[in-house]
C-alpha cells in the first residue's frame, strides 16, 4: 500500500471526517469527560487502544465467522459482545500493569463499551469495505481524531470554568456551543485535496 493512500486514510479520519465533530460518534464521552485535560488525555489513550483492537477484532470476526457461515445478520450482536469482552480484558490488564492509570480512568473505562465511536468504527469498516490493514489504520486514526477533539474541548472548558456564564448555559449547553464552533473550524479541512 502506498504511503499516499495511508496518509489519505489518516488525514481523512482525523481531520476531514472527524468522528466527533463530523460524524457525531462518541458525543457522550466527549461531553462527559471533557471537563479536565488530564482525564481527557487518559480517556483518549484508552480509546485509541480499544478502538484499534476492536476494529481489528470485529473485522476478523466478520470475515472468518459471519461471512463464512452466512450469518451476517448476527453482526450487531457479535460485534457488541466482542467489544464488551475487549473492554473487560483491557480493564483487567490495566488493573494489573498500571493501577495508577486504572484508578485515574475510573468509571470511564467500562463506559467505552457504550461509546458509539467504537461500535461505529467497527460497522463502518465493514460498510466501507476495507482491507485488514486499512481497518487498523482507519480505526486508530479515528480514535486519534476523537482524542484530539476531546483534548481541545477540555482545554477550552477548563478556561470556561473561570468565566462568569449565565446560569442556564453552564455545563452542557456551553459545551455544545463550543463544539459548534470547533465543528465549523474543522469544516475548513473539507476542501483538502490529497
Amino acid at each position: 500500500m502506498e504511503f499516499r493512500e495511508i496518509l489519505v486514510i489518516i488525514l481523512g479520519a482525523v481531520f476531514i471526517n472527524n468522528f466527533v465533530l463530523n460524524r457525531f460518534l462518541g458525543i457522550c464521552p466527549f461531553v462527559g469527560v471533557s471537563r479536565q485535560i488530564e482525564a481527557s488525555i487518559g480517556m483518549s489513550l484508552a480509546v485509541v487502544f480499544v478502538m484499534t483492537l476492536a476494529g481489528a477484532a470485529t473485522w476478523c470476526v466478520n470475515k472468518y465467522l459471519l461471512v463464512q457461515f452466512d450469518v451476517e445478520y448476527l453482526q450487531t450482536v457479535s460485534f457488541i459482545l466482542v467489544i464488551a469482552a475487549l473492554v473487560q480484558l483491557v480493564e483487567m490488564f490495566l488493573q494489573k500493569t498500571s493501577p495508577v492509570l486504572y484508578s485515574a480512568l475510573g468509571i470511564y473505562l467500562p463506559l467505552i463499551t457504550t461509546n458509539c465511536a467504537v461500535l461505529g468504527v467497527a460497522v463502518l469498516n465493514i460498510r466501507e469495505a476495507r482491507t485488514f490493514l486499512e481497518t487498523v489504520i482507519f480505526s486508530a486514526s479515528a480514535a486519534v481524531g476523537f482524542g484530539i477533539a476531546l483534548i481541545l474541548m477540555a482545554g477550552i472548558r477548563e478556561r470556561l470554568e473561570l468565566v462568569d456564564l449565565p446560569k442556564p448555559f453552564r455545563g452542557a449547553p456551553i459545551a455544545f456551543i463550543v463544539a459548534a464552533l470547533m465543528a465549523i473550524a474543522f469544516m475548513g479541512f473539507s476542501g483538502m485535496k490529497l
Partner: protein, 200 residues
C-alpha cells in the same frame, strides 16, 4: 393513577436527551430531517419497549455478575430485528438512518433503562417507562429536526408532504451541517434549564 408518572417523567423531567443527556449521537446525526427523526424515534421506542419487557420478564433469572452482557444480547437482538425489518419494509428510511440503526444498541438510554429500571420493576411499569422515554426521545429529536430543517432548507417535509414551504428567510445551510446540530442542541438545553429554573 400512581403509575402514570412512570410514563410522563420520560417526556419532560427526565427527558433522556435534554435532561439525562443520553443518546446524544443519534440525536445530532439524525435530526437533519423531520422524517428521519420520527423514523429513528419509532425504531428506538420499539427497541426500548422490547428490551424493557424481556429484561423485566427474565429479571429473576439473571445472575448479577453477568447481567450487563445479558442485557446487551437482548438489546442487540431487538436492534437487529428492527434493522432487518426496516431494511425489508422501509428501505429508504433504512438508508437515511445509516449506521445509527445498529448503533441503537449502544444508545446509553436503552442500556441505562435496562439497568436502572427494567431489571428491578414489573413488566407493566417497564412498559410505561419505555413508552415515556421513547416519546421523550422522539419529541426531542423532532423539535431539533424541525428547527434544523426549517432554518437549513427553508422548508419542512413530512413523509413527502411539505408542511412548511414558504421560506421566510434565505436558508442557512450550516443548520443541517454538524455545527448547526451542536448549536441548536446547546440552545435547546439552555432553554430547558431556564424554564426549569423559573419553575423552582
Amino acid at each position: 393513577m400512581g403509575h402514570m408518572h412512570e410514563f410522563t417523567k420520560g417526556i419532560w423531567k427526565e427527558n433522556p436527551v435534554l435532561r439525562l443527556m443520553l443518546g446524544l449521537c443519534p440525536t445530532l446525526a439524525v435530526s437533519t430531517a423531520v422524517d428521519n427523526a420520527i423514523g429513528m424515534g419509532i425504531a428506538f421506542t420499539i427497541v426500548l419497549l422490547g428490551s424493557n419487557v424481556v429484561i423485566s420478564l427474565i429479571r429473576g433469572f439473571i445472575p448479577k455478575q453477568v447481567r450487563i452482557p445479558c442485557f446487551i444480547v437482548v438489546i442487540a437482538t431487538f436492534v437487529t430485528i428492527i434493522d432487518l425489518s426496516m431494511h425489508a419494509f422501509q428501505p429508504k428510511l433504512h438508508e437515511a438512518l445509516g449506521i445509527f440503526v445498529p448503533l441503537i444498541v449502544v444508545n446509553c438510554i436503552v442500556l441505562g433503562r435496562a439497568e436502572a429500571f427494567a431489571s428491578r420493576n414489573s413488566v407493566f411499569a417497564s412498559i410505561l417507562d419505555a413508552l415515556g422515554m421513547g416519546v421523550g426521545f422522539t419529541l426531542a429529536l423532532f423539535v431539533l429536526a424541525f428547527v434544523r430543517e426549517l432554518l437549513g432548507t427553508g422548508m419542512v417535509t413530512l413523509f413527502g408532504h411539505a408542511i412548511v414551504s414558504r421560506p421566510l428567510l434565505q436558508p442557512a445551510i450550516v443548520m443541517i451541517l454538524p455545527p448547526g446540530a451542536f448549536v441548536t442542541l446547546g440552545l435547546m438545553m439552555a432553554l430547558m434549564n431556564k424554564i426549569g429554573e423559573k419553575r423552582t
